[in-house]
Symmetry: C2
Subunit: 285 residues, 2 copies
């Protein structure tokens, strides 16, 4: 398992903002539009962050919104960044929080981890190792994305309790059987057999659980005993590693701790990632 | 208002499946990969559907999943199809059901209807007239997308009650103040002033309400008196125009009826679209 091999549960979030990338202007041969130049700068910035912080991480999490706002050149940069991450030995978690009715959810599965058949051959998707999904549309809409992950040997992280202040608006609404996020947790657990790992203890059917509301983590771990947790909100959003121990109850590989701005925005991303790696490793054993 | 001018509330869904597009192989000069060829076929297919069905429609709704599964060539096809639709005098509803924490939601707003600043100039997004959004993350996460729409004079359709069978799993969960989808409806209504039209009667802050559960439509119209409704599920999914009258209570322009496979998959998309246009126009007045 890569977590044990790299002794890291850190997932390096890449949310590049072109406005701040003026110094990543290495070569623009043949590039014309602002989007093309910005996309090239995004790729070069991501390369630099992966090179410096990658050794302390186990995965990279590109935020798809930050790439697709640059249009087709941005999507090409996304593809290039996924390749750079894989070449550095890191897993790729495509963070697009996709979700739609079943026929469209199937297409998202193809886009993230699958292929699309055509008369001209198979068109490859992003080839991610896992991707984030939005479960608001229910189990039948999650199913085709889980099926795509199953076929690819990949993982899915469904939103259960997010890290933003407004998460409570919908996810914490009370129902007779507990808050909405507990229903989402049970939905995640119902798919866990589909993406179970070889040891049977952990499942690639995972959950996004924010570090900013750590009071939920132990209870959600009880409801999803096998799910991989993807935990954003550490660092810039205020979450603290020492509050996240319950996420690791099934083992050191049971959660990925995502940090974006606190690593990629640091003067020395390598040192910032290594500090976080040590703090998380210490509380996970 | 374009609905009155074109006497149509039909929103032409484009969900192209490359596997079925073998005959759209006009010219592949310089194209190499399967994804590039499939993306070209997607563009040509969309051009044909827009030319034949467009005159009976008021808007086009590309399903983003179907384009992004072809990677960067697919995103370029999406950009081209949006241009084709605009050239045909049609509105563009980018159907990606995006949603994320506020900082990322802002990036989705830039991608759909805005621009992204960079040292090399402004990079344009898709330039859609409206886009679909997922409200599971709450009001603070919807806000940046609404702000982007406000700045662009565009609209947002937030999911309230979707058309798939599993929609009930989460959206119909009961709370002390009604089912979850009523909370979503109130959230939509709370933003309606931000995107209000010039006459004050309708708002570009809209809602996705499926035609497959018409029993909800009158109640949701009461909760969202000014919202534009985007209504999928007519045709292939079983929804019927005659059940949708309540959606048009505020006026003929108060709802768009989306149909995808039943038009684009018909032998004569123009005739299929015209039949639906007449049926909807008749019940909307």
């Amino acid at each position: 398992m890569l977590v044990e091999e790299r002794r890291s549960q850190i997932c390096l979030g890449l949310d590049p903002d072109p406005a701040r990338l003026g110094r990543f202007t290495i070569e623009f041969d043949g590039l014309g539009s602002a989007a093309e130049k910005a996309a090239e700068a995004v790729t070069e910035h991501s390369r630099w962050v992966i090179e410096s912080a990658g050794p302390a991480c186990v995965a990279v999490k590109p935020q798809l919104a930050c790439f697709e706002r640059l249009g087709s050149p941005g999507w090409r940069a996304l593809e290039d960044v996924c390749k750079l991450a894989r070449a550095a030995g890191l897993l790729v978690v495509a963070d697009g929080k996709r979700g739609d009715v079943p026929v469209s959810a199937k297409a998202y599965g193809q886009a993230m981890v699958g292929q699309t058949s055509s008369p001209w051959g198979e068109a490859d998707g992003l080839g991610a190792d896992a991707f984030t999904a939005n479960p608001l549309l229910g189990a039948d809409a999650l199913e085709p994305m889980v099926a795509a992950a199953e076929a690819a040997g990949a993982g899915v992280f469904a939103l259960v309790r997010t890290s933003n202040p407004g998460a409570a608006d919908v996810q914490d609404l009370q129902t007779p059987d507990g808050p909405v996020h507990e229903h989402l947790a049970r939905m995640v657990d119902s798919f866990s057999g589909r993406l179970a790992g070889t040891d049977g203890k952990l499942s690639g059917m995972g959950a996004v659980v924010g570090a900013t509301a750590p009071e939920h983590i132990a209870r959600l771990r009880d409801l999803m005993p096998r799910a991989m947790f993807l935990i954003p909100g550490v660092g810039a959003q205020g979450g603290k590693p020492e509050d996240l121990g319950a996420a690791f109850a099934p083992g050191r590989a049971a959660a990925l701790i995502a940090a974006s701005r606190s690593i990629a925005g640091a003067d020395d991303p390598g040192a910032a990632a290594e500090d976080l790696r040590q703090a998380v490793w210490a509380i996970s054993g």
